[in-house]
């Protein structure tokens, strides 16, 4: 093959999302992250002889929710299958999964890349249990490893995309949109560091302009947006180089090594693809009762794309502001709560975006000592002239440090705006006397100097004077 041939990648992603349940898929053990090894385990999730799995109702609800959010067909009847393989982290010697009759099929997810919207097809969503964790700790285990089964049987959904993705940037955008949606739906917390959301990427390349797919490699172990992009870029380059040099891509499982920034073959998985699936004898088919899917549909929260449309078309926010506010489910809920307290959309949007989010410096709004309604209350205090915008910023500093209610803070600090002319006048007189030069300029027609004078009065009153009133008084006294 010639050296200057251009290749086009064909990418499909398999996203594994941990369902936000309190307990595991088939037993009542806690799913809490960070417990000491093997303390969230029982007979069922360690695969002791004679135990039987009992399905978690909430896991089913969350899987259906994901299916509806991704516009899938949710099947009233789906089936559990055994996926058989041997690995130390798999206590039963099989994983209970879904195979040829998954709970959801045929959906889509819209993503945005470089300002362009594109649709990625969803092939299927199936439910499955997670495996345990092999721990390699030389200090504890020396030349051996040990297994922690806390994760064993934690409920997951695997969301398989169509091979619709054509660049690493699109893949990263897909991951981001998927995480956003799942967090909105309350299906998955999206915590990639804790392994709640991870993905495998199927990557192949083909000469640009051709139809036939190339041989694909499956890259495992991708747990950040950056790694999705890096791993796929590396793999596209590796496969393209290989073909240019006259070689052939072999179908294999490769592991992304984030330290070496490369993928490498996982020999252990070579023949493991023969999983000998068969229907799980210990679990009957999953049959959703009549009307269940419709009920879940009614409980579905507003989706990110719908929220974005509502913010721009109904609330009149700019697309830029709407995008910032809807990016994260918690931020959007925070904004909605603020707006429910006081209906000044533009002002509240500004306060949330320019003040609250900036102060947060990337931390979650859930870490705040106050909720959205406090910002609604704060803007209301400005709007009814109880405080000035400047004092409002001081109130926010108080809120960030100690929480509480803006009204109570204003009252206890004595920050209520002074609207009493008698109290403001002496300060105005004092400022005019000390700035004769500015007064002259004003009288000579340079009226914009009034801003400077208002600023001085505000400073002198420690921000408590009503700026409009100060403006008025200054004009009157300077004969404007």
């Amino acid at each position: 093959m010639s050296n200057d041939i251009e290749f086009e990648p064909v990418i499909g992603l398999e996203v594994h999302a941990q369902l936000s349940t309190k307990t595991k898929l088939f037993c009542g053990c806690s799913t809490a992250f960070g417990a000491p090894p093997n303390t969230n385990v029982c007979e069922v999730c360690t695969g002791m002889p004679g135990v039987l799995p009992v399905l978690n109702a909430q896991a089913v609800e969350l899987a259906v929710r994901a299916g509806l959010g991704l516009h899938c067909t949710v099947h009233e009847r789906s089936q559990w299958s055994r996926k058989n393989y041997f690995y130390p982290d798999l206590p039963k010697g099989y994983q209970i999964s879904q195979y040829d009759k998954p709970i959801c099929t045929g959906g889509k997810l819209d993503i945005e890349v470089d300002g362009q919207t594109m649709t990625v097809g969803i092939t299927r969503i199936h439910m499955e249990e997670d495996a345990g964790k092999n721990v390699h700790d030389d200090l504890v285990a020396g030349a051996r490893s040990y297994v922690d089964f806390n994760r064993s049987s934690v409920p997951l959904i695997e969301i398989v995309s169509e091979p619709d993705i054509r660049s690493s940037a699109q893949a990263a955008a897909y991951m981001k949109a998927m995480r956003q949606l799942l967090r909105y739906l309350g299906v998955c917390d999206g915590n990639m560091e804790e392994g709640s959301l991870r993905c495998d990427a199927n990557v192949s390349v083909r000469p640009k302009g051709t139809e036939k797919f190339g041989t694909r490699a499956e890259i495992k172990n991708i747990n950040s947006f950056r790694f999705v992009q890096q791993a796929i870029d590396y793999e596209i380059e590796r496969q393209s180089e290989l073909i240019r040099a006259g070689g052939k891509v072999v179908q294999e499982t490769r592991l992304w090594d984030s330290q070496a920034k490369s993928t490498r073959s996982m020999r252990s998985k070579e023949e493991a693809h023969d999983y000998r699936y068969f229907p799980e004898p210990d679990l009957p088919d999953l049959v959703l009762r009549d009307g269940f899917v419709a009920e879940v549909g009614k409980r579905l929260p507003e989706l990110p794309s719908d929220k974005l449309t509502r913010y721009t078309s109904k609330l009149g926010l700019s697309p830029y502001d709407a995008k910032i506010l809807t990016e994260d489910a918690e931020v959007a809920a925070f904004f909605d709560a603020a707006l429910a307290t006081h209906k000044n959309t533009k002002s509240i949007a500004n306060w949330v975006i320019n003040e609250v989010l900036r102060e947060l410096k990337g931390n979650s709004v859930e870490s705040l000592k106050f909720k959205g309604d406090a910002i609604g209350e704060l803007v209301k205090l400005i709007d009814d002239s109880t405080i000035s915008g400047k004092i409002a910023k001081d109130v926010l500093v108080e809120l960030m440090a100690h929480g509480g209610s803006p009204r109570a803070i204003v009252d206890s600090k004595g920050w209520v705006q002074v609207t009493d002319t008698g109290a403001i006048e002496p300060i105005v007189d004092q400022v005019l006397a000390a700035n004769a030069e500015s007064v002259e300029k004003y009288k000579a027609g340079k009226t914009n100097v009034i801003g400077f004078l208002v600023g001085l009065v505000m400073k002198e009153s420690k921000g408590k004077a009503n700026p409009a009133m100060v403006n008025e008084l200054l004009k009157k006294k300077m004969g404007g």
């Binding site: 349940t21 009542g28 029982c42 009992v54 909430q58 896991a59 130390p88 092999n134 051996r144």
Partner: protein
């Protein structure tokens, strides 16, 4: 296993390998014969028209049973680890597998 490819010795050895079973040559021959005869027996079903019969996944009909998402006490660590052939730290010791 499709109609065209009845089980052969290679298939028996492959499945044995996947199941981590060691089979001797004699056992492999015997298993191939047994499995062939079992499959030939079941193949009689091909004579029936089952196009309209849904595939059976379970011999006994059972309703879907669901459990509320409420945590229950787990097993005490000592009891869990008692089932480990080799305790390492608070985990189950296994050969080191590094990919």
């Amino acid at each position: 296993m499709s109609k065209e490819a009845p089980i052969d010795r290679a298939a028996v050895l492959h499945v044995a390998k996947l199941a981590r079973l060691t089979v001797s040559d004699a056992e492999a021959d015997a298993l191939t014969r047994d499995m062939q005869s079992i499959l030939a027996y079941v193949k009689k079903l091909d004579e029936l028209d089952v196009a309209k019969v849904p595939a059976t996944s379970h011999a006994v009909h059972l309703e879907t049973l669901l459990r509320p998402d409420e945590p229950r006490p787990c097993m005490p660590l000592e009891k869990v680890i008692a089932n480990s052939p080799e305790r390492i730290g608070d985990g189950f010791g296994v050969p080191k597998i590094i990919e």
